[in-house]
């Protein structure tokens, strides 16, 4: 994109501020819009934002530096990000990436000389059932094939605007393969609030209590209790936040729920508002799902017209509630509820100190409910159908059903809903995951299951899950997975606390050392120790779970690492003396045997 003149940028930013608002909370949203317009955040934009929003320049730059989708230097006119989840890799993304960079004559992460294009990798974009996938200027392109890549190369070279790219490139499928209690007949369910109004907030909360619904985002906190605590916490205002950050590698069910049943999700948020007494809600939508933004905005405005949002909802005086959508900008940690709130407030997504918990002090220091998309959808159904209906399925501690995102080496990747208590083997049968050597349950932060564990059940008692279910077929090398996850966590650590910030980088280096065949048994023990420390001493759930995959491989698939160890060595220094001599060789122009170390 041509470096725009100061004046144009100034005008654009001033226009943004006028259109959307001057609250400091909007900083990140403004930065996202500026990035989209100019392919970076020009310094002059920082100046304008700083003076108008009253936020220091360094804080604005710090924000740009934190989020993977914001840049201080121009990216190409076409900013291409290949989704780099292990499922994308298994589907051949690396070869496609190389095909495209070669076709365009561009190196990874380097904007082409003419400013036309930049190609990089990004963390899982939530298209695992239809990968390999990429984002082009923030919009999802799915089902990549060599043919599609060739065509994309042509379109980029010809400078064709995205609006004129073939529409089928941008199609995102829902792939719902198994509907249970929540998803069956969900289309026919009322998006209205009549039942809630008939019950009243107290009885509606009672239904939720009877349902024993627990949060679907992973941690499994009882939803009714969360809402009750929030309602009873002192505060002049309260907020409802829907967590649609869905950053866990391998999950995409929230994307499908928002595409298929946005009304039910918004309805769930509105009930929550009615119960806790909130007047404002936010949907925090990960940047990777920006393609859904126009439709979601449209649904919100329709609901306003229908009297289901806004002032005096359904004619009830004083029932005022509205929902605003905030976008994320490429940060997995922003799925953690307190980091999400920081991000909603326009800051770097760094986890907050707890206590206080968000239910007591959340958005703008006010009591705030943060729930997963699926949790709000379930709450909407429960208020309609009753807590006992929901309780009818599941196990002792896990009422109801769970929606899974199934991907990897399976015949039918997509969305599957099962009652809690369903064994892993049942899911494998249904999705066609024959001969799986491992299943990664609950994402990169979850657990790696060996076949002997496939009888274990999906439930809070046994295998709690955010819904990610990635299957690794018999011919896969688990080393690829563990390398992918180690890279992911090192990239996504927020950097706040020492064990996670440094530990993830150390772990990544050790995993690479193993992969390169340079490690010894000592290094494996190091990995275990570092992992233990991260699990025990990290500040938030990202750091405490980031080494799970390494531990599981060490314990359950030891051969993955063992067979790569350097033979006959108890210890291999990380420092590679011969490599260090390369600089001296380059300077002296020598390359004879005497300029190399003898191979031990």
């Amino acid at each position: 994109m041509p470096l725009s003149s100061h004046d144009t940028v100034k005008r654009m930013v001033t226009g943004l501020l006028t259109a959307r608002g001057h609250e400091p909370d909007l900083l990140l949203q403004h930065l996202i819009a500026i990035q989209l317009a100019y392919s970076y955040v020009p310094e002059i934009a920082v100046e304008v934002l700083s003076s108008v929003l009253g936020v220091t320049r360094s804080r604005i730059r710090a924000c740009v530096d934190f989020y993977a989708f914001l840049h201080a230097r121009p990216r190409g006119d076409y900013d291409v990000l290949f989704s780099d989840n292990i499922t994308d890799r298994m589907a051949g993304s690396e070869a496609l990436r190389q095909q495209l960079t070669k076709r365009l004559g561009v190196r990874l992460d380097q904007t082409r000389g003419d400013g036309r294009v930049t190609v990089s990798l990004t963390s899982c974009t939530g298209m695992c059932d239809q990968g390999p996938a990429m984002l082009v200027n923030g919009l999802a392109v799915t089902a990549l094939t060599p043919k599609r890549i060739e065509r994309i190369g042509e379109l980029v070279e010809a400078g064709v605007p995205l609006e004129h790219w073939p529409a089928k490139f941008f199609v995102v499928e829902d792939h719902i393969h198994r509907a249970g209690d929540l998803l069956s007949n969900a289309e026919k369910m009322s998006a209205g609030l009549q039942r809630f109004l008939d019950l009243g907030p107290q009885a509606a909360l009672g239904e939720l209590e009877a349902s024993v619904l627990r949060g679907r985002g992973g941690a499994g906190f009882t939803t009714a209790l969360k809402w009750r605590i929030c309602r009873d916490s002192p505060g002049d205002e309260r907020f409802v936040v829907c967590n649609a950050d869905e950053g866990e590698p391998g999950t995409f069910k929230d994307r499908v729920l928002l595409a298929r049943y946005p009304d039910l999700v918004f309805k769930g948020m509105t009930l929550c508002a009615g119960i806790i007494g909130a007047r404002k809600g936010y949907l925090y939508l990960r940047g990777e799902y920006r393609h859904m933004l126009p439709r979601l905005e449209w649904v919100l405005s329709r609901r306003r017209e229908q009297g289901l949002l806004g002032w005096d909802i359904c004619g009830q005086p004083g029932f005022d509630f509205d929902i605003e959508i905030h976008l994320g900008a490429g940060a997995y940690v922003c799925g953690e509820e307190s980091a999400l709130i920081e991000s909603l407030e326009g800051k770097r997504g760094v986890v907050r100190k707890r206590p206080p918990y968000p239910v007591v002090s959340g958005f703008q220091g006010r009591p705030t409910v943060v729930n997963n998309v699926e949790t709000f959808l379930a709450a909407a159904r429960i208020v309609e159908w009753g807590g006992h209906w929901f309780r009818g399925e599941g196990t002792q501690q896990s009422a109801g059903s769970k929606i899974l995102s199934v991907s990897g080496d399976v015949a039918r990747p997509g969305i599957y809903e099962y009652p809690f208590g369903t064994p892993v083997s049942r899911v494998l049968e249904d999705c066609g995951g024959t001969g799986a050597q491992a299943v990664q349950v609950s994402g990169a932060a979850g657990v790696t299951l060996a076949p002997s564990e496939f009888s274990r059940t999906l439930s809070f008692e046994d295998l709690p899950t955010s819904g990610s279910f990635m299957v690794l077929g018999p011919d896969r090398d688990l080393m690829d997975m563990t390398r992918n996850f180690a890279r992911f966590f090192a990239h996504e650590s927020c950097g706040f606390c020492t064990p996670c910030r440094v530990g993830n980088r150390l772990l990544e280096a050790l995993v690479e050392k193993v992969a390169a065949g340079k490690a010894s048994a000592y290094d494996l023990e190091e990995m275990r120790q570092i992992g233990n420390l991260m699990r025990q001493a990290s500040y938030c759930g990202l750091g405490t779970t980031a080494a799970n995959h390494v531990r599981d491989i060490l314990d359950k698939f030891p051969d993955t690492f063992q067979r790569r160890l350097r033979p006959g060595s108890d210890f291999t220094p990380a420092f590679d003396l011969d490599a260090a001599l390369a600089a001296a060789r380059a300077i002296t122009g020598r390359n004879d045997a005497g300029a190399h170390l003898e191979e031990a």
Binding site: T56, R57, S58, R59, R61, A62, D65, F66, A331, R348, K353, P355, A490, H491, E492, S493, C494, G495, F496, C497, T498, P499, R501, V502, G503, N504, R505, L506, A509, Q529, I530, L533, Q536, A537, S538, Y539, A574, F575
Partner: protein
């Protein structure tokens, strides 16, 4: 002692006031829990993780965990000291800490805590990051090589000086301290030698110019007494270099 308002730290009864953290109460009772990012003048932060203690089978940071009656808190145990050692080692390899060549040696909290937990070598592979030195300010120099990201200067400048001179930028291992000024240089910022932020850095990252060796090595704060006796750098400012 009123047991309703006390907990036990390594078997020792520690009284507390409502609202205090484990760290507040321990410090008030003269019990030392090693720490780097904590300073009683500032809101607890919980980022360095050096003050982890075991409560009910879990490690928590003493500086952020609320004190509660009857808690059994373990701090000075071999496994907890080992965890702290590893955290210290991580901090050492993450930056460039060349103690013998650092003018803060002997009066550095990172070094002193490392001694306290028995750290004898850095253990992990050094990262050797490329970082700058900023000597643009007339009275102070910042050596980013030694910054441990404790955010004490960030918090002091914001909460005590009302200036916002410092911020943390980036993420993960690329996190770094930045300065609020048009050029990003300290000399062009609102920073002054009289700021509280000038006197809270636990390591040799924010240093006054002229006076580096006024106290000879060997006679410095932690050369004389261990940190468990004399406490933090910030609490000894003035004394450390007098």
């Amino acid at each position: 002692m009123n047991l309703a308002n006390s907990f036990r730290l390594d078997g020792r009864e520690i009284p507390f006031q409502p609202g205090q953290t484990l760290m507040d109460a321990a410090l008030a009772a003269g019990a030392y829990i090693p720490h780097l990012c904590h300073n009683p003048e500032l809101a607890p932060h919980g980022s360095c993780r050096v003050c982890v203690v075991r409560v009910g089978g879990r490690l928590v940071s003493a500086c952020t965990a609320p004190a509660a009656a009857g808690l059994e808190v373990a701090s000075d145990t071999p496994d907890i000291q080992a965890s702290r050692r590893a955290i210290l080692q991580m901090l050492f390899v993450e930056g460039n800490h060349i103690c013998p060549a650092c003018e803060k040696t002997g009066a550095c909290q990172l070094q002193a805590v490392a001694y306290y937990v028995g750290m004898l070598e850095p253990h992990f592979t050094h990262f050797f990051p490329r970082r700058d030195v900023d000597a643009s300010h007339p009275d102070y120099v910042i050596d980013f090589n030694r910054c441990i990201l404790c955010e004490l200067c960030v918090r002091a400048s914001r909460d005590l000086d009302g200036k916002h001179v410092f911020a943390i930028s980036g993420r993960g291992i690329d996190s770094r301290l930045v300065i609020e000024s048009p050029t990003g240089k300290l000399g062009d910022s609102a920073f002054a030698a009289t700021d509280r932020a000038a006197h809270v850095c636990p390591v040799g990252a924010i240093l006054p110019k002229r006076g580096a060796y006024s106290v000879p090595i060997g006679q410095r704060l932690y050369d004389r007494e261990p940190i468990s006796q004399v406490g933090d750098v910030a609490a000894n400012e003035g004394r450390a270099r007098s």
